[in-house]
């Protein structure tokens, strides 16, 4: 691929932010840029800024007390730990799915490939009631698990189930293209130099795919932290045990405790944004890895 270097040239560097390069002849910069900035501000920036600004108006000790109350802390811990465990599962199942879909030909492959997107397309509430019913003590899977005294509903492990469903397409869709673009010659070279299949996989394939895998896992983790609809039905929402952080915001709102809701939300938002920063550096690293 021969493309112009994306590094800013001298002219770009001297430009003002959001001002266009004068050498460009295409029309509509002012209109499209103006509308983009206006719409972005109206729908996203101003409302988000309201939350941040509103949190500053809350008395600092009230803010700290709300955010560090045992019940809220337990909800943060639960949201983060279940999201992390689900992301680990997704690293495995997502990689497995991507591998099978790219490397093997079997009947129904195209159907599976299309159905990977189901969690993106299916409303979260529908996924939620499905898993709650499946894993309830009288449900199709719950009945079976009950014989071994395993109960997933009203338990953190049930939350993990819902979060695996929500997150796995992220991993598949980031790993799949990288796996498909891989030149077979690389592996052939490894084999001809005497590497075993496992060695070729571990030393050649895995390092190449790892940045994409990490991106997918981070995406699924970030999504899982804030997930609400698919979780609340299976979680049972028991205080200190299966109450996720978004639900804490919801219950504070139900009690008209707007300041409390804003405080809990701000911390959750900061966690999500720091995930975004991590993701950004991961992606920068990924780009470097493929250069």
């Amino acid at each position: 691929m021969f493309r112009a270097s994306p590094l800013p040239d001298k002219q770009t560097r001297t430009m003002l932010p959001f001002k266009r390069n004068r050498r460009q002849i295409l029309p509509g910069f002012g209109l499209s840029m103006g509308y983009t900035v206006f719409y972005l501000s109206a729908i996203v920036i101003v409302p988000l800024a309201t939350l941040v600004a509103g949190s500053f108006r809350i008395a600092p000790d009230l803010f700290v007390n709300t955010v560090t109350s045992p019940r809220v802390l337990a909800s943060y811990r639960l949201s983060l730990s279940t999201a992390l465990i689900a992301a680990m599962f997704n690293a495995f199942f997502g990689f497995l799915t991507a591998w099978t879909l790219v490397r093997y030909r079997f009947p129904g492959r195209k159907v599976l490939d299309a159905l990977v997107d189901l969690p993106f397309a299916l409303p979260t509430a529908v996924a939620g009631i499905c898993f709650a019913t499946l894993y309830s003590p009288v449900g199709w899977v719950g009945q079976f698990l009950g014989r071994f005294d395993i109960q997933l509903i009203n338990a953190p492990s049930g939350i993990v189930i819902a979060l695996i469903f929500i997150g796995f397409p992220f991993v598949v869709r980031t790993v799949q293209p990288v796996l498909a673009e891989l030149e077979p010659e690389i592996e052939e070279a490894a084999h001809s130099l005497g590497a075993s299949r496992w060695q070729a996989f571990r030393r050649i394939l895995l390092p190449h795919i790892f940045p994409a895998l990490l991106t997918g896992v981070t995406l699924s983790f970030a999504r899982a932290i804030g997930e609400y609809g698919s979780v609340i039905f299976i979680a049972g929402n028991l205080p200190f045990r299966t109450e996720i952080a978004p639900l804490m915001i919801m219950s504070k709102l139900d009690q008209f405790d707007y300041d409390g809701a804003a405080a809990v939300a701000l911390v959750l938002l900061l966690i999500s944004f720091s995930m975004l920063l991590v993701l950004n550096s991961v992606q920068r690293w990924q780009e470097k890895a493929y250069r």
Binding site: M1, Y39, I43, G54, L96, T97, A121, Y258, A261, L269
Partner: protein, 292 residues
Amino acid sequence: MQTGPNPDKTALRHRTGTSHQDPLAVRVILIFLTLLFFGGFVFLPLALVFAEGFRKGAAVYIESIREPYAIAALELTLTTAAIVVPLNAVFGVAAAWAVSKFTFRGKTFLVSLLDLPFAVSPVIAGLIFVLLLGSRTTLGSWLGEHGIKLIFSTPGIVIATLFVTFPFVARELIPLMESQGREEEEAAVTLGAKGWQVFSIVTLPNIRWGLLYGMILCMARSIGEFGAVSVVSGHIRGMTNTIPLHVEILYSEYNYAASFAVASILVFLALATIVVRSIMENALHNQQQTQF
């Protein structure tokens, strides 16, 4: 110009495959594990929706879908989508045009701002509009005095859905338009085309599949959005109830058959989205192949 993998080599790889290098046992085990995973996480829930929906017979199923509250919820959901999708599509095209056809400082920053709503929990997305427009705030109380109620009514649902589905079209179009470059549009301008002509004659045909695809994703999400809408709606039956909220209410009333019957509508919509997506991806793929 070589921007993708060599088609001949790709075809060759697909024909011979690297699969025959994996021992049969490995292949069988991995395919079996994948099918097992899909069985538990995809096929079982899908089968369950219909099994539960029809548990009390087809009459109850049809009755649940046709009762007035379900119809009202469906109407509200479709109205919301009909407002949200065009607005976000226009924005997506404008943003993609600005980002992909021009060079300016702060481009990376702008693009990452566009993705912001994806990083925000749906519940927080609802909360920010309650905080901004609710009767507690200056803006909200001023609006209230003038008889305008945004939160716990349809406009609130529309605004929250706008936020949640904000990036879909832009995200779909930006990489597509960046890969297509500026040469065609620049040639059109050189030949005397005016601004709108450049867009409708040159750009739009090139991006139509991507645009349509982004709009379909946007529509699917706006129909299915639950958390954000749940916060701003106030759950007033027949008034501010969307289809996903209706499913939740029926479920929490232990009316499982009706809940799953209504949910099956959403499953049909989700499956339709996926089918359309596959068709469009093929169309997009073919279009790109004919270009090179």
